[in-house]
Subunit: 249 residues, 2 copies
């Protein structure tokens, strides 16, 4: 597969065309951003780790019957994915209160929800990714009622599968953000990335009682170096994939 | 019915106990607030007009099969209502883009929605009445899934009925906010008020082409005196009730 012209550069990845019009080349960058893009820093090795982690997670999901845009990893920092028409949505699933949920709603971080919370945020930098509900999305023509009737159950299934995956590596899946799109034949698929940049992951092996973050909150909140945490996630996921005999693309 | 001790004083009304434990005495005040309580002013006659208007609207709704907490109006500024356990929710219905919807989502005021938009805001001054979705409300124990399955269809029916009522007096119902609660026997009912304080009402008799506000936006946006506008709404609604032969409580 040939890497052709750059199509898009985002905050964490670059997208390139390939000689297959249905396939994109994704390069994971070393940059980390937080606080609506206000905070920005480069971390040597982060691109590679996120590329490995996304590939592991999408492979572990596939083994659980959940397909994604992933075709295969091509090198340390790049993977091939199916080209999608993306919904401009951050699809957020929460199992435990943290982050914006707490500041918005005055809830203590760590509150366990009695059921998972699904929230949509419109991907729009100018509007600062506003929180929206189903009706908003429909009248804004972001998606149809029928799209939402497919997106929501898929998001909830992904959450169940990810809870299972992370619990097996002694990590509590607090919340995460995913993106979805449709392939040229209309199939709805999980796309973009699932990494410690897009999840809140609390270590359960640390028995000190305090939360050990294995995710981008280390950077957001200046709690420590992200690289060892991302390496730890990568190591545990690789061991799980190995133990499960999962074919890692 | 005897008016007893004051139970609550809000921004627009005072609630008093009565000698019937199931009935409250509501006094409509002259004060108007806007901008999260930042802006505040008294308007002579506003309490009386809102009391008359709520009574007319609840009576016109009743004639359309939608019951409310209203028992009856007792004097110029007061009415008796059924005592409810309120949901701490601002239930917002939008037919046309305006106000917060526009600033939140970057939409031009006046955009006609292809279907009505229902939004919930948590009544919480400290949190500035945050926008919430169904999942948020359920995990916060504000209401149950079953409550929402009753609240949403009732809100949409009220919107349909109000569109009909206002169209008959040449007013476009842009959006409005309602509150609901349950009586001691568990019945879900429309409560609180429906007034030009809680609706956006655009006059369709003015043929100048520009929007003629007949609601609190006159105060919010310093567009003019609210009293003549509220008087106009009261007059037209009274004429409609008369024409429909509706019994006004
Ligand atoms: N399979 C795909 N096809 C097309 N676009 C994709 C696919 N997967 C992810 N994207 C998009 O590529 C971009 C990824 O780059 P990223 O750096 O994360 O961007 P952003 O800063 O917009 O989040 C996002 O806009 C995402 O929606
Ligand atoms: N039937 C009812 N029973 C009990 N409380 C009610 C009823 N109708 C309205 N309320 C409550 O009474 C208060 C009305 O006063 P208002 O001045 O509008 O208050 P606020 O400033 O809280 O909006 C609101 O808190 C509203 O929820
Ligand atoms: Mg991204
Ligand atoms: Mg009120």
């Amino acid at each position: 597969m040939e890497k052709l012209e750059k199509l898009y550069e985002g905050k964490a990845k670059q997208l390139f065309a390939t000689d297959d019009p249905e396939v994109l080349w994704v390069e994971y960058k070393n940059s980390a951003t937080a606080g609506d893009g206000e905070k920005k820093e480069d971390f040597e090795g982060k691109g590679r780790l996120n590329n490995l982690i996304t590939t592991l997670i999408f492979s572990l999901l596939k083994a659980r019957g959940i397909d994604s845009h992933l075709v295969k990893r091509v090198d340390d920092t790049a993977q091939l994915v199916r080209k999608m028409t993306m919904f401009p949505l951050e699809i957020v699933l929460r199992n435990t209160a943290a982050g914006h949920f707490c500041s918005r709603l005055g809830v203590e971080e760590g509150l366990e929800f009695k059921e998972p919370v699904l929230e949509y945020f419109l991907k729009n930098d100018d509007l600062h990714d506003p929180f929206v509900n189903d009706d908003d999305l429909v009248v804004l023509d972001v998606c149809t009622r029928e799209d939402l009737a497919e997106i929501a159950p898929l998001a909830r299934r992904i959450n169940e599968a990810l809870i299972d995956i992370f619990s097996k590596i002694d990590v509590k899946l607090v919340d995460f953000k995913i993106e979805m799109g449709r392939t040229s034949d209309g199939t709805l698929l999980l796309a973009d990335e699932i990494t410690p940049d897009s999840c809140r992951l609390w270590d359960q092996r640390d028995k000190s009682g305090k939360v050990e973050h294995l995710d981008k909150d280390l950077f957001r909140r200046d709690l420590g170096d992200i690289i060892p945490a991302y390496e730890e996630i990568e190591r545990r996921l690789a061991a799980l994939a190995e133990a499960e005999g999962v074919c890692v693309e």
